[in-house]
Protein backbone atom coordinates (compact mmCIF):
# COMPACT_ATOMS: atom_id res chain seq x y z
CA UNK A 1 0.00 0.00 0.00
CA UNK A 2 2.81 2.34 0.88
CA UNK A 3 4.08 2.14 -2.72
CA UNK A 4 0.75 2.67 -4.40
CA UNK A 5 -0.05 6.06 -3.09
CA UNK A 6 3.01 7.92 -4.48
CA UNK A 7 2.58 6.11 -7.82
CA UNK A 8 -1.09 7.08 -7.98
CA UNK A 9 -0.23 10.66 -7.09
CA UNK A 10 2.47 10.75 -9.77
CA UNK A 11 0.01 9.47 -12.41
CA UNK A 12 -2.71 11.95 -11.41
CA UNK A 13 -0.16 14.80 -11.38
CA UNK A 14 1.23 13.88 -14.80
CA UNK A 15 -2.24 13.55 -16.35
CA UNK A 16 -3.40 16.79 -14.75
CA UNK A 17 -0.32 18.77 -15.87
CA UNK A 18 -0.54 17.44 -19.43
CA UNK A 19 -4.30 18.01 -19.71
CA UNK A 20 -4.02 21.50 -18.23
CA UNK A 21 -1.25 22.49 -20.67
CA UNK A 22 -3.27 21.03 -23.55
CA UNK A 23 -6.43 22.95 -22.55
CA UNK A 24 -4.51 26.21 -22.13
CA UNK A 25 -2.78 25.67 -25.47
CA UNK A 26 -6.09 25.08 -27.27
CA UNK A 27 -7.52 28.23 -25.65
CA UNK A 28 -4.41 30.18 -26.68
CA UNK A 29 -3.69 31.32 -23.12
CA UNK A 30 -0.09 30.12 -23.12
CA UNK A 31 0.78 31.26 -26.65
CA UNK A 32 3.39 33.82 -25.44
CA UNK A 33 5.07 31.10 -23.35
CA UNK A 34 5.03 28.69 -26.31
CA UNK A 35 6.55 31.32 -28.58
CA UNK A 36 9.28 32.07 -26.05
CA UNK A 37 10.04 28.35 -25.61
CA UNK A 38 10.29 27.90 -29.38
CA UNK A 39 13.03 30.54 -29.65
CA UNK A 40 15.92 28.42 -28.27
CA UNK A 41 14.48 25.34 -30.01
CA UNK A 42 14.62 27.07 -33.39
CA UNK A 43 18.28 27.96 -32.84
CA UNK A 44 19.25 24.30 -32.31
CA UNK A 45 16.84 23.23 -35.05
CA UNK A 46 18.60 25.65 -37.41
CA UNK A 47 21.84 23.70 -37.05
CA UNK A 48 20.37 20.23 -37.55
CA UNK A 49 17.95 21.45 -40.21
CA UNK A 50 20.87 22.61 -42.33
CA UNK A 51 22.61 19.30 -41.79
CA UNK A 52 19.61 17.19 -42.84
CA UNK A 53 18.96 19.48 -45.82
CA UNK A 54 22.51 18.97 -47.03
CA UNK A 55 22.21 15.17 -46.68
CA UNK A 56 18.90 15.23 -48.56
CA UNK A 57 20.12 17.48 -51.35
CA UNK A 58 23.38 15.55 -51.78
CA UNK A 59 21.43 12.29 -52.13
CA UNK A 60 19.03 13.90 -54.57
CA UNK A 61 21.84 15.42 -56.63
CA UNK A 62 23.62 12.10 -56.92
CA UNK A 63 20.42 10.43 -58.05
CA UNK A 64 19.71 13.13 -60.61
CA UNK A 65 23.22 13.43 -62.04
CA UNK A 66 22.37 11.40 -65.16
CA UNK A 67 19.45 13.54 -66.24
CA UNK A 68 21.03 16.87 -65.39
CA UNK A 69 22.91 17.28 -68.69
CA UNK A 70 19.82 16.66 -70.84
CA UNK A 71 17.78 18.93 -68.62
CA UNK A 72 20.41 21.65 -68.95
CA UNK A 73 20.15 21.59 -72.75
CA UNK A 74 16.36 21.79 -72.58
CA UNK A 75 16.54 24.70 -70.17
CA UNK A 76 19.01 26.60 -72.32
CA UNK A 77 16.63 26.34 -75.27
CA UNK A 78 13.71 27.45 -73.11
CA UNK A 79 15.78 30.36 -71.78
CA UNK A 80 16.42 31.68 -75.26
CA UNK A 81 12.69 31.67 -76.01
CA UNK A 82 11.78 33.22 -72.66
CA UNK A 83 14.31 36.03 -73.01
CA UNK A 84 12.56 37.30 -76.12
CA UNK A 85 9.21 36.98 -74.34
CA UNK A 86 10.54 38.91 -71.33
CA UNK A 87 11.68 41.77 -73.57
CA UNK A 88 8.17 41.94 -75.03
CA UNK A 89 6.56 41.80 -71.59
CA UNK A 90 8.81 44.59 -70.32
CA UNK A 91 7.42 46.81 -73.05
CA UNK A 92 3.87 45.90 -72.03
CA UNK A 93 4.75 46.56 -68.40
CA UNK A 94 6.05 50.00 -69.11
CA UNK A 95 2.85 50.76 -71.07
CA UNK A 96 0.82 49.48 -68.13
CA UNK A 97 2.75 51.64 -65.64
CA UNK A 98 2.22 54.76 -67.75
CA UNK A 99 -1.52 54.06 -68.16
CA UNK A 100 -1.93 53.22 -64.46
CA UNK A 101 -0.27 56.51 -63.57
CA UNK A 102 -2.63 58.37 -65.90
CA UNK A 103 -5.75 56.96 -64.21
CA UNK A 104 -4.21 57.12 -60.74
CA UNK A 105 -4.61 53.36 -60.27
CA UNK A 106 -2.87 52.29 -57.07
CA UNK A 107 -1.91 48.64 -56.76
CA UNK A 108 0.79 47.12 -54.64
CA UNK A 109 2.85 45.14 -57.11
CA UNK A 110 5.52 42.52 -56.54
CA UNK A 111 8.17 45.16 -57.16
CA UNK A 112 7.14 46.91 -53.93
CA UNK A 113 7.36 43.83 -51.74
CA UNK A 114 10.05 43.46 -49.15
CA UNK A 115 11.38 39.90 -48.95
CA UNK A 116 13.21 38.20 -46.12
CA UNK A 117 15.12 35.12 -47.22
CA UNK A 118 14.84 32.23 -44.78
CA UNK A 119 16.31 28.75 -44.47
CA UNK A 120 13.98 25.81 -43.95
CA UNK A 121 15.19 24.29 -40.68
CA UNK A 122 12.57 21.65 -40.02
CA UNK A 123 9.17 20.16 -40.66
CA UNK A 124 6.22 19.38 -38.42
CA UNK A 125 6.85 16.40 -36.15
CA UNK A 126 3.54 14.93 -37.41
CA UNK A 127 4.08 14.00 -41.08
CA UNK A 128 0.38 14.57 -41.91
CA UNK A 129 0.63 18.21 -40.91
CA UNK A 130 2.34 19.98 -43.77
CA UNK A 131 4.17 22.78 -42.04
CA UNK A 132 7.80 23.88 -42.20
CA UNK A 133 9.96 25.81 -39.76
CA UNK A 134 12.06 28.77 -40.86
CA UNK A 135 14.98 30.50 -39.17
CA UNK A 136 13.44 33.99 -39.36
CA UNK A 137 11.11 35.49 -36.78
CA UNK A 138 9.83 38.76 -35.36
CA UNK A 139 13.41 40.08 -35.12
CA UNK A 140 13.55 39.97 -38.91
CA UNK A 141 10.14 41.58 -39.38
CA UNK A 142 8.22 38.33 -39.94
CA UNK A 143 4.63 38.31 -38.69
CA UNK A 144 1.71 35.88 -38.61
CA UNK A 145 -0.10 35.62 -41.99
CA UNK A 146 2.91 36.80 -44.02
CA UNK A 147 2.92 35.03 -47.41
CA UNK A 148 5.87 32.74 -48.17
CA UNK A 149 7.08 32.20 -51.72
CA UNK A 150 9.97 30.98 -53.84
CA UNK A 151 10.93 31.98 -57.36
CA UNK A 152 8.83 29.00 -58.50
CA UNK A 153 5.65 30.17 -56.78
CA UNK A 154 3.54 30.25 -53.65
CA UNK A 155 4.64 28.14 -50.67
CA UNK A 156 2.28 29.03 -47.81
CA UNK A 157 1.73 31.50 -45.01
CA UNK A 158 3.21 32.09 -41.57
CA UNK A 159 1.02 30.68 -38.79
CA UNK A 160 3.24 30.96 -35.71
CA UNK A 161 6.20 33.19 -35.04
CA UNK A 162 8.82 33.50 -32.32
CA UNK A 163 11.72 35.93 -32.05
CA UNK A 164 14.08 33.76 -34.09
CA UNK A 165 11.85 31.42 -36.08
CA UNK A 166 8.45 30.85 -37.56
CA UNK A 167 6.12 28.08 -38.68
CA UNK A 168 4.64 28.10 -42.17
CA UNK A 169 1.46 26.24 -43.18
CA UNK A 170 2.11 24.93 -46.68
CA UNK A 171 -0.54 25.26 -49.38
CA UNK A 172 -0.34 21.45 -49.73
CA UNK A 173 -1.76 20.98 -46.20
CA UNK A 174 -5.28 19.52 -46.01
CA UNK A 175 -6.62 22.66 -44.33
CA UNK A 176 -5.10 25.10 -46.82
CA UNK A 177 -7.30 26.82 -49.37
CA UNK A 178 -6.05 29.40 -51.87
CA UNK A 179 -8.42 31.57 -53.92
CA UNK A 180 -7.10 31.39 -57.45
CA UNK A 181 -7.70 32.51 -61.01
CA UNK A 182 -6.88 30.68 -64.23
CA UNK A 183 -4.42 32.84 -66.11
CA UNK A 184 -5.92 32.35 -69.58
CA UNK A 185 -9.68 32.48 -68.89
CA UNK A 186 -9.54 34.62 -65.69
CA UNK A 187 -12.08 32.26 -64.11
CA UNK A 188 -11.97 31.70 -60.38
CA UNK A 189 -11.59 28.61 -58.25
CA UNK A 190 -10.08 27.31 -55.05
CA UNK A 191 -6.86 25.30 -54.78
CA UNK A 192 -6.87 22.94 -51.81
CA UNK A 193 -4.22 20.68 -50.31
CA UNK A 194 -4.77 16.95 -49.86
CA UNK A 195 -3.66 14.27 -47.42
CA UNK A 196 -1.03 13.08 -49.90
CA UNK A 197 0.36 16.60 -50.28
CA UNK A 198 -0.99 17.17 -53.79
CA UNK A 199 -2.96 20.23 -54.90
CA UNK A 200 -6.45 20.16 -56.41
CA UNK A 201 -8.31 22.99 -58.14
CA UNK A 202 -11.99 22.93 -57.17
CA UNK A 203 -15.19 24.95 -57.63
CA UNK A 204 -14.57 25.95 -61.25
CA UNK A 205 -17.83 26.36 -63.18
CA UNK A 206 -18.61 23.59 -65.65
CA UNK A 207 -18.74 25.96 -68.64
CA UNK A 208 -15.13 27.10 -68.16
CA UNK A 209 -12.75 25.57 -70.70
CA UNK A 210 -9.83 24.39 -68.55
CA UNK A 211 -6.80 23.54 -70.66
CA UNK A 212 -4.08 21.25 -69.37
CA UNK A 213 -1.04 23.41 -68.74
CA UNK A 214 -3.00 26.55 -67.80
CA UNK A 215 -1.28 28.54 -65.09
CA UNK A 216 -3.11 29.05 -61.80
CA UNK A 217 -2.45 32.33 -59.97
CA UNK A 218 -3.65 33.69 -56.64
CA UNK A 219 -6.69 35.91 -57.13
CA UNK A 220 -6.20 38.04 -54.02
CA UNK A 221 -9.82 37.42 -52.98
CA UNK A 222 -10.40 37.12 -49.20
CA UNK A 223 -6.98 38.78 -48.89
CA UNK A 224 -5.30 35.61 -47.64
CA UNK A 225 -2.56 35.99 -50.24
CA UNK A 226 -1.52 38.81 -52.57
CA UNK A 227 -2.81 38.47 -56.15
CA UNK A 228 -0.85 37.05 -59.10
CA UNK A 229 1.44 34.65 -57.28
CA UNK A 230 2.00 31.43 -59.23
CA UNK A 231 0.34 28.45 -57.58
CA UNK A 232 0.91 25.84 -60.30
CA UNK A 233 -0.25 24.34 -63.54
CA UNK A 234 -3.55 22.46 -64.07
CA UNK A 235 -3.91 19.12 -65.79
CA UNK A 236 -6.78 16.83 -66.90
CA UNK A 237 -9.97 18.43 -65.51
CA UNK A 238 -12.86 16.24 -64.40
CA UNK A 239 -16.35 16.84 -63.01
CA UNK A 240 -16.67 16.94 -59.24
CA UNK A 241 -18.63 14.17 -57.48
CA UNK A 242 -21.79 16.29 -57.33
CA UNK A 243 -21.28 17.24 -61.03
CA UNK A 244 -21.79 20.91 -60.16
CA UNK A 245 -18.20 22.02 -60.69
CA UNK A 246 -15.02 21.03 -62.45
CA UNK A 247 -11.89 20.04 -60.59
CA UNK A 248 -8.36 19.36 -61.73
CA UNK A 249 -5.02 18.36 -60.21
CA UNK A 250 -2.58 21.25 -59.91
CA UNK A 251 1.15 20.67 -60.19
CA UNK A 252 3.16 23.25 -58.29
CA UNK A 253 6.55 24.27 -59.63
CA UNK A 254 7.75 24.29 -56.03
CA UNK A 255 9.31 21.03 -54.84
CA UNK A 256 7.78 20.95 -51.37
CA UNK A 257 9.80 17.87 -50.39
CA UNK A 258 13.09 19.69 -51.02
CA UNK A 259 12.46 23.24 -49.89
CA UNK A 260 15.69 24.79 -48.64
CA UNK A 261 15.39 28.55 -49.00
CA UNK A 262 12.17 30.54 -49.17
CA UNK A 263 11.19 34.19 -49.20
CA UNK A 264 8.82 35.73 -46.69
CA UNK A 265 6.95 38.82 -47.91
CA UNK A 266 7.02 41.02 -44.82
CA UNK A 267 5.28 44.17 -46.01
CA UNK A 268 2.15 42.85 -47.68
CA UNK A 269 -0.84 44.45 -46.00
CA UNK A 270 -4.16 42.77 -46.71
CA UNK A 271 -7.24 44.97 -46.91
CA UNK A 272 -9.13 44.60 -43.63
CA UNK A 273 -12.40 42.91 -44.63
CA UNK A 274 -13.58 42.21 -41.09
CA UNK A 275 -15.34 45.55 -40.86
CA UNK A 276 -17.70 44.49 -43.69
CA UNK A 277 -18.45 41.19 -41.97
CA UNK A 278 -19.34 43.08 -38.77
CA UNK A 279 -21.66 45.39 -40.71
CA UNK A 280 -23.50 42.41 -42.21
CA UNK A 281 -24.04 40.92 -38.74
Amino acid sequence: MSNRSPRGTAIVMAVFISAAIMALSILGTIRPVENTARTPLSIVQNFFGGFSQSIDSTAAELAELRTLRERNNELENSLALLQSEVAELREIRSDYDRLAELVNYVNQSSADWRYVAADVIGEDSMPTLRTIHLNRGTRDGVAVNDPVVTAQGLVGKVTKVSATGCEVLLITDQTSGVNVRLQTTRDKGLVEGTLSGDLVLRFVNTDVPIQSGDLVLTSGETQTFPPNLIVGQVSSPTLSEDKLFQEAPVTSFVDFERLEIVLVITNWEPVDLEVFEEQVQ
Binding site: S25, I26, E34, S125, M126
Partner: protein, 170 residues
Protein backbone atom coordinates in the same frame (compact mmCIF):
# COMPACT_ATOMS: atom_id res chain seq x y z
CA UNK B 1 18.13 12.17 -10.01
CA UNK B 2 20.57 11.80 -12.89
CA UNK B 3 17.88 10.12 -15.01
CA UNK B 4 15.78 13.30 -14.93
CA UNK B 5 18.69 15.52 -15.94
CA UNK B 6 19.67 13.16 -18.76
CA UNK B 7 16.06 12.99 -19.98
CA UNK B 8 15.75 16.71 -20.58
CA UNK B 9 18.51 17.17 -23.20
CA UNK B 10 17.90 13.70 -24.65
CA UNK B 11 14.20 14.31 -25.31
CA UNK B 12 14.83 17.86 -26.46
CA UNK B 13 17.29 16.62 -29.06
CA UNK B 14 14.94 13.77 -30.03
CA UNK B 15 12.09 16.25 -30.63
CA UNK B 16 14.40 18.38 -32.79
CA UNK B 17 15.63 15.30 -34.69
CA UNK B 18 11.97 14.34 -35.34
CA UNK B 19 11.57 17.61 -37.26
CA UNK B 20 14.96 17.53 -39.01
CA UNK B 21 17.03 14.37 -39.51
CA UNK B 22 14.13 11.91 -39.11
CA UNK B 23 12.17 13.63 -41.90
CA UNK B 24 14.69 12.02 -44.29
CA UNK B 25 13.09 8.65 -43.44
CA UNK B 26 9.50 9.70 -44.17
CA UNK B 27 7.51 7.90 -46.81
CA UNK B 28 3.83 8.26 -47.83
CA UNK B 29 2.19 10.27 -45.06
CA UNK B 30 4.13 8.80 -42.15
CA UNK B 31 7.54 8.62 -40.58
CA UNK B 32 9.44 7.47 -37.51
CA UNK B 33 8.63 8.98 -34.13
CA UNK B 34 11.88 9.13 -32.15
CA UNK B 35 10.37 10.69 -29.04
CA UNK B 36 7.71 7.97 -28.86
CA UNK B 37 10.35 5.23 -29.27
CA UNK B 38 12.40 6.73 -26.42
CA UNK B 39 9.40 7.10 -24.11
CA UNK B 40 8.24 3.51 -24.77
CA UNK B 41 11.74 2.03 -24.41
CA UNK B 42 12.32 3.95 -21.18
CA UNK B 43 8.94 2.82 -19.81
CA UNK B 44 9.95 -0.80 -20.53
CA UNK B 45 13.27 -0.30 -18.73
CA UNK B 46 12.53 1.71 -15.60
CA UNK B 47 9.92 2.28 -12.90
CA UNK B 48 6.78 4.28 -13.64
CA UNK B 49 7.80 7.20 -11.43
CA UNK B 50 10.93 7.65 -13.55
CA UNK B 51 9.24 7.22 -16.91
CA UNK B 52 6.36 9.66 -16.20
CA UNK B 53 8.51 12.84 -16.17
CA UNK B 54 10.10 11.74 -19.45
CA UNK B 55 6.63 11.25 -20.94
CA UNK B 56 5.55 14.77 -19.97
CA UNK B 57 8.83 16.39 -21.08
CA UNK B 58 8.99 14.51 -24.38
CA UNK B 59 5.38 15.28 -25.18
CA UNK B 60 5.78 19.00 -24.56
CA UNK B 61 9.00 19.24 -26.63
CA UNK B 62 7.38 17.35 -29.51
CA UNK B 63 4.26 19.51 -29.54
CA UNK B 64 6.24 22.77 -29.37
CA UNK B 65 7.61 21.90 -32.82
CA UNK B 66 4.23 21.02 -34.28
CA UNK B 67 0.78 22.41 -35.11
CA UNK B 68 -0.59 20.00 -32.48
CA UNK B 69 -1.77 21.83 -29.30
CA UNK B 70 1.00 21.69 -26.67
CA UNK B 71 0.31 18.99 -24.09
CA UNK B 72 -1.52 16.62 -26.48
CA UNK B 73 1.46 14.29 -26.91
CA UNK B 74 2.34 14.64 -23.22
CA UNK B 75 -1.13 13.43 -22.20
CA UNK B 76 -1.13 10.39 -24.48
CA UNK B 77 2.50 9.58 -23.59
CA UNK B 78 1.54 9.56 -19.90
CA UNK B 79 -1.38 7.21 -20.58
CA UNK B 80 0.86 4.97 -22.72
CA UNK B 81 3.53 4.79 -20.01
CA UNK B 82 0.91 3.93 -17.37
CA UNK B 83 -0.56 1.23 -19.65
CA UNK B 84 2.88 -0.28 -20.28
CA UNK B 85 3.67 -0.29 -16.56
CA UNK B 86 0.37 -2.02 -15.81
CA UNK B 87 0.20 -4.47 -18.70
CA UNK B 88 3.71 -5.75 -19.45
CA UNK B 89 4.47 -7.22 -15.97
CA UNK B 90 1.02 -8.91 -16.03
CA UNK B 91 1.81 -10.59 -19.36
CA UNK B 92 5.23 -11.59 -18.08
CA UNK B 93 6.88 -11.04 -21.46
CA UNK B 94 10.66 -10.77 -21.41
CA UNK B 95 12.14 -11.11 -24.85
CA UNK B 96 13.34 -9.22 -27.92
CA UNK B 97 9.89 -9.13 -29.53
CA UNK B 98 8.35 -7.01 -26.79
CA UNK B 99 9.63 -3.53 -27.80
CA UNK B 100 8.60 -3.88 -31.49
CA UNK B 101 5.19 -5.34 -30.52
CA UNK B 102 4.56 -2.60 -27.99
CA UNK B 103 5.68 0.17 -30.34
CA UNK B 104 3.35 -1.08 -33.10
CA UNK B 105 0.33 -0.95 -30.77
CA UNK B 106 1.40 2.32 -29.20
CA UNK B 107 2.05 4.04 -32.56
CA UNK B 108 -1.53 3.31 -33.63
CA UNK B 109 -2.90 4.57 -30.30
CA UNK B 110 -0.72 7.69 -30.39
CA UNK B 111 -1.55 8.61 -33.99
CA UNK B 112 -5.29 8.02 -33.50
CA UNK B 113 -5.30 10.14 -30.34
CA UNK B 114 -3.41 13.04 -31.94
CA UNK B 115 -5.54 12.87 -35.10
CA UNK B 116 -8.69 12.89 -32.92
CA UNK B 117 -7.49 16.01 -31.11
CA UNK B 118 -6.70 17.63 -34.45
CA UNK B 119 -10.17 16.64 -35.71
CA UNK B 120 -11.75 18.29 -32.68
CA UNK B 121 -9.57 21.34 -33.39
CA UNK B 122 -11.11 21.53 -36.88
CA UNK B 123 -8.88 19.49 -39.17
CA UNK B 124 -10.52 17.07 -41.63
CA UNK B 125 -10.48 13.38 -40.74
CA UNK B 126 -9.53 10.79 -43.34
CA UNK B 127 -10.85 7.38 -44.42
CA UNK B 128 -9.38 3.87 -44.09
CA UNK B 129 -7.00 4.48 -47.02
CA UNK B 130 -5.77 7.59 -45.24
CA UNK B 131 -5.20 5.45 -42.15
CA UNK B 132 -2.87 3.14 -44.12
CA UNK B 133 -1.23 6.09 -45.83
CA UNK B 134 -0.44 7.87 -42.57
CA UNK B 135 -0.14 5.34 -39.76
CA UNK B 136 1.24 2.17 -41.38
CA UNK B 137 4.56 3.67 -42.60
CA UNK B 138 5.16 5.16 -39.15
CA UNK B 139 4.54 1.94 -37.28
CA UNK B 140 6.72 -0.11 -39.65
CA UNK B 141 9.62 2.33 -39.25
CA UNK B 142 9.15 2.57 -35.49
CA UNK B 143 9.13 -1.23 -35.21
CA UNK B 144 12.31 -1.43 -37.28
CA UNK B 145 14.16 1.17 -35.23
CA UNK B 146 12.92 0.62 -31.68
CA UNK B 147 15.34 -2.15 -30.76
CA UNK B 148 18.31 0.13 -31.41
CA UNK B 149 16.77 2.79 -29.17
CA UNK B 150 15.85 0.19 -26.53
CA UNK B 151 19.36 -1.25 -26.41
CA UNK B 152 20.95 2.21 -26.31
CA UNK B 153 18.70 3.31 -23.46
CA UNK B 154 19.36 0.00 -21.69
CA UNK B 155 23.05 0.85 -21.85
CA UNK B 156 22.36 4.38 -20.59
CA UNK B 157 20.27 3.02 -17.71
CA UNK B 158 23.01 0.57 -16.76
CA UNK B 159 25.56 3.39 -16.90
CA UNK B 160 23.46 5.66 -14.68
CA UNK B 161 22.55 2.87 -12.21
CA UNK B 162 25.06 0.04 -12.49
CA UNK B 163 23.57 -1.79 -9.47
CA UNK B 164 19.95 -1.95 -10.61
CA UNK B 165 20.18 -3.05 -14.20
CA UNK B 166 16.82 -4.16 -15.58
CA UNK B 167 16.35 -5.40 -19.11
CA UNK B 168 13.81 -7.42 -21.06
CA UNK B 169 16.67 -9.08 -22.85
CA UNK B 170 18.27 -10.72 -19.84
Amino acid sequence: MAVYYVGFPLLLMAAIFDTTLMTLFRFWGGGPNLVLMIIVSWALLVDLRESLPWAVMGGIFRDLLSLVPTGTSALIFVLIVVAIDWLIPKLGWRNLVVPPLVIVAVTVVYDLFVLSVLFIAGRPIFDILGFFYVIVPGLIENAAMVLVIYRTLGGLNAFLRPTSRVSLLE
